[in-house]
């Protein structure tokens, strides 16, 4: 019996010793690690990302990061000096994101006039939806590109015409020929007219 007691006592004290020993290491490791990683040549502290915040997103949205490269990849890095994260555009991802994804900010085609295909939003809702885009794509820049941006500012969301996750040079509005671009105007506006005629206006 005395042997058993001794054995238990020895085991407990050994475990305790290991715990304290390990804790010492982890406490000692943190400051020394950050010193090694963060020390820059000019003495300034350089912040490095310790993990990829997009990792969890891309587990399900597998190719979203690649499809974004054409429009919001290198060009963004050149402009703001760093890459964009998913949540910078798609914010308000709640804890029940997988069950109720309606909360997350999405960029879908919407317009202020009744049409056949696109959903209907009022002026304020459209301005709110495009607000995220117009932070970088300012109204001045948009006007410089084409006057069409001006007249649709509160009448259609960006994604009504543009593909946000796409190669802008090969897909989407910019890649289209002049004729095909005009066909895009005709598509929606003809639809409005047909709708109006249906209603007997």
């Amino acid at each position: 019996m005395g042997n058993v007691k001794l054995a238990i006592r020895t085991t407990i004290s050994f475990l305790l010793f290991i715990c304290i020993y390990g804790f010492n290491f982890s406490v000692a490791a943190e400051p020394s690690d950050s010193q090694n990683l963060g020390a820059n040549t000019d003495g300034r502290h350089e912040v490095t990302f310790i993990r990829d915040s997009d990792y969890a997103c891309t587990q399900c949205h597998k190719d979203s990061k690649e499809t974004r490269q054409g429009t919001h990849g290198e060009k963004v890095v050149a402009e703001i000096g760093r890459d964009l994260k998913c949540v910078e555009c798609h914010n308000s991802i709640g804890p029940d994101h997988r069950e109720n994804p309606t909360q997350v900010t999405k960029f879908s085609a919407a317009q202020s006039q009744i049409g056949t295909h696109k959903i209907l939003l009022d002026f304020d809702a459209i301005l709110k939806a495009t607000g995220n885009c117009t932070e970088c794509h300012t109204s001045e820049r948009l006007q410089e590109k084409t006057w069409v941006h001006d007249v649709h500012a509160k009448k259609a969301t960006c994604s009504s015409c543009h593909m946000i996750h796409a190669d802008g040079e090969k897909e989407g509005m910019q890649a289209l020929e002049r004729k095909a671009q005009i066909a895009q105007c005709v598509d929606c506006h003809k639809d409005f007219n047909l709708k109006k005629e249906d209603k007997g206006e």
Binding site: Q143, R178, C185
Partner: protein, 228 residues
Amino acid sequence: MACSRRNLLIGAGAVIFTTGVAKVAIAKKSLVATLEDGGKRYGMVFDETACIGCTACTDACRETNNVPEGVSRLKIERSAPMGEYPDVDYTFTRVSCQHCDNAPCVTVCPTGASYVDLKTGIVDVHGDKCVGCGYCLAACPYQVRFFHPETKSADKCNFCRDTNLKAGKLPACVESCPTNALTFGDLNDPTSEINKVIASNAVYRSKVELGTEPKLYKVADTKGEIKR
């Protein structure tokens, strides 16, 4: 020789007098006749309030009538931006032949190449009669005529007379407009769609004070200055 110099001069004068007067008389009668004989007088209404400036019409025109790049029978002119973001707006207007009843281009043409078609009221050009003097280009108050780079003759909108109208269709611009901003029809027919549109909207025509009697009507935009 029984024909003295005096007789010859009198005879020649008489011939010039009678043929000249006769020509004027025919021309006069014909212009009136299009109004009174029940002939067609094609015209067009351009609704500035409906136009979205997509220029589908200019492309359709170019394609249907084989108008080369660099010249155009039909242009849509866009105004400068009005207002501040997000309420910036523009107005659009149509620049094309107005098909004047009293067309200066026809009056100045020395060869008769430029003419008003009396059955339809359409102002057109006989390409093979045109010598390229350019009088009509200068005389047109609306500045819509140009030299066709291939045929070298004066050219302009003729309501698709030898393309779509011939095939029994509406002019290409009217067909292609997604917002129904264009109405084409016979101004002589009181029941025609065009007369209904003119009767139910505040319309204007450009430079009527010149006496050209244009047949292109425009529904004025609710914003900005009327583009006369």
